[in-house]
């Protein structure tokens, strides 16, 4: 473009300070250029542009000038005050408001232009820049169409738009021009020209979907820059406009491998120690499959470690949750008292999904939890359609992950097969861990079963476990496999009893056998003692016998000697002779 004096200046972006928008636009609005903000009444044009000025002044110390062509500046300041922006300080140093409403009585007598006003604004901008360390200035032309319509001449309108556009580039000032968009996509003449001239065109819309107000922002055009082309949801909340972060540009969060207890020791074991810190967990299941209980014990465990926890419920009120969980020995009440746990309940239908997200983000900022629960996230579907709910759930996952919060979501699902075909909000693919709870009906019993469908970055058991709920709280039980069938409930109990009986019997038998052996041993020992006694007796007898024999032979010798002495025979011969003869 010939009339663009700074054609070769590289594109620099100016952050608006509205985080989600700065992400979607890859850094903010084009500096020293013209941005056109289009939108119907109440679409948030004034808030968006004013917020950009306020953020500029607060966060980046950049002075700002707000030229109001339609609203009274006092009215704008009042509106700003309702967002909690403290403009008093800023107005003195960095913000300047110009009431540029045309007097109702002003008579139009011919052609006019904005040259005078721009000269004034330029002087003011230079003065403000100088008193703020040479920082660049942001200027908003709010509802410029009101003024341009006085020209009653499309050509003249176009000329003034060019004037503003060139003036911004020449003076290195970043401009935001807001204008009403025509009905049903047919732009008014002046905004039509504006769209061609502006370097960046953003359209704000407000629509009713399922009787919930829904605001969106679309970047229609952004010269020299890539941007998110799809509609971006936004909310005008207590603190102004909030564009929930898309986080698609930056998925680089610090990854932790620390484990966070699940609240169920046996589930921790199944998952190599617990959930991964900062990960997202999805628990799906039919109604009554203890999703809330698992969520509750996860938070109870967190609070017992002294960590802060947040419970966002779309189902029941806080008192109801606390009472119901207390009945299964998940005690949340003390942690609410100590301030570690914050429970928030709201009806899903009351707000749009984006509003819910913004509210959740506010609660995160206020409460600073390390662990949080959204129960159930499937309620989001109620609030404004599935595709939206899906993207909101995704954002919630990304954002909590980015700040290291462990997020546990529950989702209502009737059965697993249905789920594999189409997850209502398809978050199962994004969630790091997916635990499915189901009912197993067997032998006239309905039992709860827990399966870890997936667990990213975690070794995990692939076994189905039975989830048993008692007054002591939820616990997991081993299941029995017989002939390829999983046994639960009474069947499991019977099987367990059977095994216990078997063991007892076995113990008895062993004991019996042991006693038998002991008796046998005792018997043998007794026998051995008897034999030993016998041996001893025999030995003694033998000794006696020997002694007697000795005595006998001695006696006989004596007797022979006596005989010989009587016969007077030779001692040696007599005997033989005597025996011969």
């Amino acid at each position: 473009m010939n009339d663009h004096p700074e054609s070769f200046e590289p594109l620099i972006k100016m952050p608006t300070g509205i985080q989600g928008f700065d992400e979607a636009s890859g850094g903010g609005l084009p500096r020293h250029r013209t941005t056109l903000l289009l939108g119907g009444p109440g679409s948030g044009k004034t808030v968006f542009s004013l917020q950009t000025l306020v953020n500029g002044a607060q966060k980046y110390e950049e002075p700002g000038i707000f030229i109001a062509f339609e609203e009274k500046t006092s009215q704008i300041l009042t509106n700003a005050a309702s967002f909690g922006w403290n403009l008093q300080d800023l107005v003195a140093r960095r913000l300047f408001f110009i009431d540029a409403r045309m007097s109702v009585d002003a008579v139009k007598t011919g052609g006019f232009d904005l040259a005078g006003m721009l000269a004034g604004v330029k002087a003011k901008a230079e003065e403000m820049s100088a008193s703020n360390g040479g920082k660049p200035v942001r200027v908003v032309f709010d509802a410029v169409d009101v003024l341009l319509s006085h020209l009653e001449n499309p050509l003249a309108e176009r000329e003034e738009i060019y004037r503003i556009h060139n003036w911004l580039a020449e003076n290195q000032i970043t401009g935001i021009i807001t204008a009403k968009s025509g009905v049903e996509g047919a732009p008014r003449t002046e905004t039509g020209a504006l769209q061609f001239i502006a370097d960046c065109v953003i359209e704000l819309k407000r629509a009713m979907r399922e009787s919930i107000s829904h605001r969106t922002l679309t970047i229609i055009k952004y010269r020299g820059s890539d941007f998110v082309e799809s509609e971006v949801s936004l909310v005008v909340g207590k603190q102004g406009i909030d564009v929930p972060s898309l986080s698609i540009f930056d998925m680089d969060y610090a990854v932790s491998s620390a484990r966070i207890p699940t609240g169920l020791p046996r589930l921790d074991t199944m998952m190599s120690g617990g959930y991964l810190s900062g990960s997202s967990i999805l628990i799906t299941g039919a109604p009554g499959t203890t999703k809330t209980m698992l969520a509750g014990s996860f938070l109870e465990a967190a609070c017992l470690r002294g960590e802060r926890a947040l419970y966002v419920s779309f189902d029941e009120g806080p008192a109801e949750i606390v009472r119901n969980l207390a009945s299964v020995n998940v005690q949340l009440a003390p942690h609410i008292e100590s301030g570690l746990l914050c429970i928030s309940s709201s009806r899903a239908e009351a707000r749009s999904a984006v509003e819910h997200l913004v509210k959740i983000k506010q609660m995160i900022r206020q409460h600073q939890p390390t662990c949080m629960v959204v129960d159930p996230i499937s309620s989001m579907v109620k609030a404004g359609g599935e595709t939206l709910a899906k993207s909101i759930a995704q954002r919630l996952i990304y954002e909590t992950k980015a700040i290291g919060i462990t997020l546990l979501m529950t989702s209502l699902l009737a059965d697993f097969d249905q789920m594999l075909e189409a997850t209502p909000i398809e978050i199962s693919t994004i969630a790091d861990t997916w635990i499915h709870l189901s009912y197993v009906i067997q032998s006239g019993e309905r039992n709860r079963a827990l399966t870890i469908v997936k667990a990213r970055g975690t070794g995990h058991s692939n076994q189905v476990r039975e989830l048993v709920v008692s007054n002591d709280g939820p616990d997991l039980q081993d299941v029995y496999m017989t002939g390829g069938e999983v046994l639960m409930g009474t069947l499991r109990y019977e099987r367990e009893a059977e095994e216990r009986a078997g063991l007892a019997r076995h113990q008895q038998e062993t004991e019996h056998y042991r006693r038998e052996l002991q008796a046998r041993q005792a018997e043998a020992e007794a026998r051995m003692r008897a034999v030993q006694q016998e041996i001893q007796v025999a030995q003694e007898e033998l000794a006696t016998l020997d002694q007697a024999a000795d005595q006998q032979s001695e006696q006989r010798q004596q007797n022979q000697d006596e005989v010989r002495r009587i016969r007077r025979a030779d001692a040696d011969d007599d005997g033989s002779r005597g025996s011969e003869g």
Partner: protein
């Protein structure tokens, strides 16, 4: 910049202030048109102050000027604003409540 007709300096009946932006076509036209319109008034009973915003930019804020050229009739009451180049003579005279005595 003051343009004071010297004939009757005691009390000019009409007081005007014209804001312009340098030599822009609209500003030049406004000055010329105002000159013509003033001929409808008796000599010496008006006073015109011309302010060039390009030279005195802060006047824009001080006086609440949005567009140029802009003519403000300060007196006689009521005060009225005329925006634009004053080319629509009929409307200008009507707004200023000047009788078109010497018309044509």
């Amino acid at each position: 910049m003051m343009e004071n007709k010297p004939q009757n300096p005691s009390q000019p009946e009409w007081k005007f202030r014209l804001y312009i932006a340098g030599d822009s076509p609209h500003s030049q036209a406004a000055r010329a048109n105002l000159e013509t319109i003033l001929h409808s008034l008796p000599e010496g009973c008006y006073q015109v102050e011309i302010i060039d915003i390009l030279k005195e930019p802060m006047r824009m804020f001080e006086d609440g000027i949005v567009v140029t050229p802009m003519l403000i009739k300060l007196s006689p009451a009521p005060v009225c604003q005329l925006m634009g180049s004053l080319s629509d003579k009929k409307r200008v005279l009507q707004a200023l409540e000047i009788r078109e005595a010497q018309d044509e």
